[in-house]
């Protein structure tokens, strides 16, 4: 269950932590970011991570990219935000160019496609598993579960635009929180 939090990281540790997230984040970084921040480095509790990610989700930009900026800011102010963001982006930017060059040479090989297909399927499973794990650990009340399911159904099943879904559900979900705590 909840890990004891570690002491706040220094700037170098912060950079290295996000470097690891960027390096391992194949097919989306939300899964590996949770692993590194909550399980591995223990800088954030499960609830902390979910709430930073929740705010990151409703702002423009990637949820984990936004989360990295906010987590960096929390530990080391503006410098922390820069350190975390550049840690997250550094390795993938370099790897991308190597891949682009390799792809032109090897894209004809069926084995490359087969391996990429298997990795993509696994990345999808990791993302699904991470969402379920967060839900299981946070034990949301029924109303919160309903809003989560509505967000899922709206975007994945009904294919509604994400922005419209959020514009409707975010005020309702926040409103329900305010209402619940007051009564």
């Amino acid at each position: 269950m909840p890990h004891p939090p570690s002491p706040p990281p220094g700037r170098l540790q912060l950079f290295l932590g996000f470097l690891k997230i960027g390096l391992m984040g194949f097919g989306g970084v939300a899964a590996v970011a949770r692993h590194v921040l909550v399980d591995d480095r223990r800088w954030l509790t499960e609830r902390d991570y979910a709430s930073v990610l929740g705010v990151g989700q409703v702002l423009p930009g990637g949820n984990v990219v936004n989360a990295s900026v906010m987590i960096g800011e929390r530990f080391h102010g503006p410098m922390g935000a820069v350190v975390a963001l550049s840690g997250l982006m550094a390795m993938p930017l370099a790897i991308l160019l190597v891949l682009a060059t390799l792809y032109e040479r090897f894209s004809g090989f069926p084995a490359v496609h087969a391996a990429m297909g298997g990795t993509a399927a696994a990345a999808a499973g990791l993302t699904i598993g991470t969402a379920l794990k967060l839900a299981r650990r946070l034990r949301p009340p029924p109303s919160a579960t309903a809003f989560g399911l509505a967000a899922f159904a709206g975007t994945a099943l009904l294919h509604l635009p994400l922005l419209d879904t959020l514009l409707v559900l975010a005020p309702l979900s926040i409103g329900a929180q305010l209402w619940n705590r007051r009564s």
Binding site: V29, V55, V65, M70, L96, L126, T127, G148
Partner: protein, 176 residues
């Protein structure tokens, strides 16, 4: 004629502010701009760049870096990356600073608590969308389900599941 880095930056600056949910949310808009409106590249090129970005580790926003690189070399890459991630990062910084300062205030805690289930639902949704596009038969479904169980059952490094998926994909091509 290849577009100038300034023109690339301007295009992605506008798109960056619409990218709620990350770069993947505006892929259709990026495609419309870059392929249909501006004619900077053709459809197959766009699809290939997208596939490469998906295969690389890291945030989805990197597809934009690759497009910039393809259009105008390293200057294009720098312009596209900065334009696409700069404004959202600045907003996240300001919001993060306000929220971190206000941590513990009941209002802020409730707003955050209201957003958590939406984030989890949307991550689940993106996992399902990814699984759909990765689906290539029973084996890929099996890999997806196994990877999901792997995360749920233990706290081990996700890289194990990814390499397992790659090995199974390779094995199926080898024997199948």
């Amino acid at each position: 004629m290849p577009p100038s880095p300034g023109r690339i930056a301007l295009t992605f600056l506008l798109l960056s502010l619409m990218a709620v949910g990350g770069a993947n949310a505006v892929i259709p808009d990026i495609h419309r701009q870059v392929v249909a409106t501006l004619h900077w590249m053709d459809d197959p090129t766009f699809a290939t760049l997208f596939a490469i970005a998906q295969a690389a580790p890291g945030p989805n926003v990197l597809v934009v870096s690759l497009i910039g690189w393809h259009l105008a070399g390293w200057k294009g890459r720098a312009a596209a990356t900065a334009a696409m991630s700069g404004p959202p990062a600045l907003i996240a910084f300001l919001v993060g600073r306000a929220l971190n300062r206000g941590a513990g205030s009941p209002w802020i805690e409730r707003i955050k608590a209201g957003l958590v289930p939406l984030a989890i639902g949307l991550i689940l949704a993106s996992g399902v969308v990814m699984a759909r596009s990765a689906y290539g038969g029973p084996l890929s479904l099996l890999i997806t389900v196994a990877a999901a169980i792997f995360v749920l059952a233990c706290d081990f490094n996700p890289l194990w599941a990814l390499s397992g998926g790659a090995v199974l994909g390779l094995a199926s091509a080898w024997f199948g």
